[in-house]
């Protein structure tokens, strides 16, 4: 019991500290401090890009969304009242921008087909360079798994996908997700549950334990 009280206190202290950091950063941004712009980018460009990428599953679209998000953040930082955390405010802008992009995509580019670039070609070189600390099998397995999950995420309802991505990839709490999506806590719970179930149906058992390495005997030629 004592431990849980201590945990609660430390969580509250961390929250207060984060809130203080946010307010300081926002104030510095309002004063147009160069350092503040740097700090905002270094803190948020990675998570915002990841979120946009997972919501859209397209690198170029995600890059465009990230630029739009930061443009809005820079221009509207004066309107930030501190009613939510800076993180949830920025994530909310990201989710809205991703929705707008997705809507635009479905209206205009649905019928476009890439001619000469495969998914493999479109990937960043950093993603292609092998990680020497892991075995090729693990690397290939993870890669395959990522592709499967990306494909499955793309198939599920965008409303559920947003909730699942925010919870399981971006690791937001239910309360933060409710703020980002602008819905009630109950709705968040329901969307996460349904999203996970939909994802499980799409993946249909492919993410169970790693398959054993099978050696297929072949006759010598």
């Amino acid at each position: 019991m004592a431990t849980s009280i201590l945990d609660l206190n430390s969580e509250q202290t961390a929250e207060a500290s984060a809130e203080g950091d946010d307010l300081r950063l926002v104030e510095a941004l309002r004063q147009a401090s160069e350092q503040a712009y740097e700090e905002l980018l270094s803190r948020f460009q990675q998570p915002v890009y990841t979120l946009a990428l997972r919501l859209l599953n397209d690198q170029s679209e995600a890059s465009d969304v990230v630029q739009e998000v930061f443009l809005k953040v820079f221009r509207n930082i004066g309107n930030f009242r501190g009613q939510s955390t800076l993180k949830t405010w920025i994530y909310r802008i990201t989710v809205n921008e991703a929705h707008n992009t997705r809507r635009w995509f479905f209206r205009h580019r649905r019928r476009e087909v890439e001619l000469d670039t495969s998914l493999e070609d479109a990937r960043n070189w950093k993603e292609i360079i092998p990680d020497r600390s892991r075995s090729p099998f693990e690397e290939a397995f993870d890669h395959e798994q990522h592709l499967m999950i990306e494909a499955a995420l793309e198939k599920i309802n965008p409303i559920f996908r947003d909730a699942v991505v925010l919870r399981d990839i971006t690791d937001l709490s239910y309360e933060e997700i409710a703020e980002v999506l602008g819905v009630s806590l109950g709705t968040v719970k329901s969307r996460i549950l349904r999203g996970r179930e939909a994802l499980r149906d799409e993946l249909a058992g492919s993410l169970n334990a790693r398959p054993a390495l099978r050696l297929v005997p072949k006759t010598a030629e």
């Binding site: 460009q45 890059s63 820079f74 993870d142 990522h146 993410l207």
Partner: protein, 239 residues
């Protein structure tokens, strides 16, 4: 607890959002129900796989673009901070706009102006002529010097005053003799009549021997009339 209910609670269980009592009941069910346990394991694996996707490397180009954008936005923000800064910003933009607009024209304009000046200064000596846009410019009366014959039969210039050649529009004085001459385009007298007083030998000399510069009309020689006037001195006047 039914399996359906337990499967609905798997998600809150993984997110630690179940009350202690409900959690205990659920765990007890999972220990005896293989189907629900497999369901839990599938969702857990799925979560683990999703968590491994939490860090996609940001493209280097995007990072650079964001830094450039941040720099522009900061400048924009600073330019709107005060009225003076705003004025400086807009005047700078206007200056840049005018500069950008004029720059493509500046070189051709300067070159054109310079070449026009050179060409004009080269051609102007050959183009220079007397411009006089008065009445004389279009029509000039005949003009000339009165020539007399001396005692030896040679031509001599007559005196300045007697007789004088006057254009028709100048009135002839009362106490004078005058002849009106018609001078052709070659400067020769082709016709004449006494317009006042009487014909004196001096006036006759003028009629017969004087050479005129012909009248001009738009620069071309033409025939015109002129008066030769000789003032009658009191001593010489004939009654």
């Amino acid at each position: 607890m039914s399996c359906e209910h337990v499967q609905e609670l798997i998600s809150p269980l993984l997110d630690r959002r179940l009350a202690a009592g409900e959690r205990e009941k659920m765990l007890a069910h999972l220990q005896v129900c293989r189907k629900c346990d497999e369901h839990l394991e599938a969702i857990q694996n799925q979560r683990k796989a999703l968590r491994r996707m939490d860090c996609a490397p940001v493209p280097a180009g995007l990072t650079a673009q964001l830094r450039v954008m941040a720099s522009h936005e900061r400048e924009r923000h600073l330019s709107r901070a005060t009225l003076a800064a705003r004025f400086r910003y807009w005047s700078g933009r206007m200056e840049l706009m005018v500069d950008n607009l004029m720059r493509p024209f500046a070189l051709p304009f300067a070159g054109g102006l310079l070449s026009a000046l050179v060409i004009f200064s080269v051609l102007v000596p050959s183009l220079s002529f007397h411009h006089n846009f008065g009445d004389e410019a279009f029509f000039t009366s005949p003009d000339g010097e009165v020539v007399l014959v001396d005692s030896r039969g040679g031509y001599v210039q007559a005196g300045y005053l007697d007789p004088r050649i006057l254009p028709l529009n100048i009135a002839i004085p009362d106490n004078s003799n005058a002849v009106t001459l018609t001078v052709d385009e070659n400067g020769k007298v082709c016709d004449w009549y006494v317009s006042r007083g009487q014909l004196t030998p001096e006036l006759l000399n003028v009629v017969m021997f004087s050479q005129f510069k012909p009248a001009t009309n738009f620069g071309l020689p033409t025939a015109a009339k002129v008066n030769a006037v000789q003032q009658v001195l009191p001593g010489r006047m004939r009654s």
